[in-house]
């Protein structure tokens, strides 16, 4: 009675049956199918040694199953019909199948001939050494002699054993193997490689070129007595020195550059209408509150702008925040990828107060989103944050994607000096 077998053993038997024909022809219900797919990968990927072990294991289980006295012929015929339905092509007739089923090729490799003595089959244990002991290999003559006295069911078992051995040696093409985890890794790695490639291209295609007269203009900016001024915002040779490679930028350079950004936005059509605060705005707002900066925008209609740039000075670090009135976002750009929730909240609060004060209506804070930008060029040293902050501002002021990197900083410093000296952005 099949039901009396332990569950594990039954499962193994089914696996072995399924392994016999690893095609999708199997139609034995969901349980079989699941066990089939679980068993499929090890079968395919195992090396020969392990396959051999599995094979012995499974075939011996089968042998034991179908030669158990309690099992009887009913189980065998049932197994035969299953074997027939799973392993044979539909074009074969019943007689052909049966003849194949009953035929036993005794001229095979002697190593594959196995004793079919029912007594030894029953005594076979699961463990491999014992199997070897219990079923000694025989030569052709012995196998032939034994085969003569075989019953139908024993023949069938021998045949089944052969079929299983054959099917286990079949290498299933890789493409038909479902390997979701491996596929996922491949997909992820592919995405990563594509991203690296994209970044590489960005880097190689982003060339910041300066005009031919750049060298002379830049060197003139370092001479004593050099000074420029826009809207009372001065910059002198002393401040230009802070643009030398490896030095920290000061507020004058950044404030002057903000003036350049404002004047470019005013002069050039097609660019966003930009307002740029000075470097003292944020620290004053933070330290002294809204009332002290309330009048700072009296000449600027802030809410009619597309974008407001806020240079953020944090003790020894320059960052940049941008208030986009079109998208209703406040974004924080830190080249060291730091978070500054306080800055975002302060600016949101500022907008709230400013709207009440200048426009006379409450700002709907729920429409606004705040973000600390992370997918941005990153500073990799301890002195270029000012260059990053300025360049973030300059790119944002013309809605340009932030395609520059740390490697551009020496050139960017020269570009900034050139722009300050020539009084206009490139």
């Amino acid at each position: 009675m099949p039901g009396s077998f332990p569950r594990k053993q039954k499962l193994r038997t089914r696996r072995a049956m399924a392994a016999k024909a690893p095609s999708e022809k199997i139609d034995q219900g969901t349980t079989h199918h699941q066990s089939f797919s679980r068993s499929r990968r090890p079968l395919v990927t195992d090396n020969k040694a392990r396959t051999g072990g599995l094979l012995r294991d499974r075939t011996n289980e089968l042998v034991r199953h179908y030669t158990m006295p309690s099992n009887g012929l009913g189980a065998s015929s049932n197994a035969y019909s299953r074997w027939r339905s799973t392993s044979q092509s539909s074009s074969q007739t019943e007689s052909e199948v049966l003849s194949e089923f009953l035929s036993l090729n005794t001229t095979d490799d002697p190593s594959q001939s196995i004793s079919f003595d029912s007594q030894s089959a029953i005594s076979i244990d699961d463990s491999l050494p014992e199997i070897d002991r219990a079923s000694p290999r025989m030569d052709d003559a012995q196998a032939g002699r034994k085969a003569v006295g075989m019953s139908k069911s024993e023949l069938w078992i021998a045949q089944l054993r052969k079929k299983i051995e054959q099917s286990l040696q079949v290498t299933v093409p890789a493409k038909s193997v479902a390997t979701p985890a491996y596929d996922l890794i491949c997909k992820d790695e592919g995405e990563l490689e594509r991203r690296i490639e994209r970044e590489r291209q960005k880097k190689s295609t982003t060339r910041i070129s300066l005009p031919a007269d750049a060298d002379s203009v830049i060197s003139s900016a370092f001479k004593a007595g050099f000074s420029r001024e826009i809207n009372n915002t001065p910059v002198t040779a002393q401040d230009i020195v802070t643009l030398k490679p490896g030095t920290w930028l000061n507020d004058e350079v950044i404030n002057y550059y903000m003036q350049l950004i404002i004047s470019r936005a005013e002069k050039t059509s097609g660019l966003p209408r930009v307002h740029a605060f000075n470097t003292f705005f944020f620290s004053t707002l933070r330290d002294s509150g809204y009332m002290r900066v309330r009048r700072w925008t009296r000449k600027t209609k802030l809410f009619e702008k597309d974008l407001a740039i806020v240079p953020v000075h944090l003790g020894v670090h320059w960052c940049c925040a941008a208030i986009d009135f079109r998208k209703k976002t406040i974004a924080y750009y830190d080249a060291l990828l730091g978070d500054n929730e306080e800055c975002l909240q302060l600016l949101m609060q500022y907008l709230h107060e400013e709207s009440k004060d200048k426009v006379g209506c409450e700002l709907d804070a729920s429409e606004w989103s705040m973000v600390c930008a992370k997918d941005i060029p990153r500073q990799k040293n301890g002195y270029d944050c000012g260059v990053f902050a300025i360049t973030f501002a300059e790119y944002l002021a013309r809605d340009a994607p932030l395609v520059f990197s740390q490697s551009h900083c020496p050139t960017l410093r020269r570009k900034i000096i050139y722009e300050i000296a020539s009084g206009a952005l490139l």
Partner: protein, 113 residues
């Protein structure tokens, strides 16, 4: 400080009663004298009051402030309503009124954290 700020801002925020009262009070001396009082506030909110002629260049005030605060002239950035002023500006030229505030900021530098 709010009442002082209100002087020039009556166009934008005239609904503040306190400011209006301040306006009335301040207008009398404004017309009667050629001197005005200006308050210089540093970044740490310390205040220094100055009395200056309307037509005098602010350079004088700046130098006086720097020497008083112990800072080198040229290292302090003076702002009125967030905008930089320079030594050549006069209170009249900037439209400053009595009691107005000048912000005195110090140099900011930064490279990294």
């Amino acid at each position: 400080m709010d009442s002082f700020d209100g002087n020039k801002d009556d166009v934008v925020s005239s609904n503040n009663n306190g400011n209006q009262q301040a306006d009335v009070k301040e207008k009398k001396p404004e017309t009667s004298t050629e001197h005005i009082n200006l308050k210089v506030v540093s970044a740490d909110n310390s205040e220094v009051m100055f009395k200056i002629k309307r037509s005098t260049k602010l350079e004088k005030l700046m130098q006086a402030y720097c020497s008083r605060a112990g800072k080198a002239y040229g290292t302090v950035r003076f702002l009125v309503d967030g905008e930089r002023i320079n030594g050549d500006n006069t209170p009249d030229g900037l439209g400053l009124e009595d009691g107005d505030t000048i912000d005195a900021m110090t140099e900011q530098i930064g490279g990294s954290c």
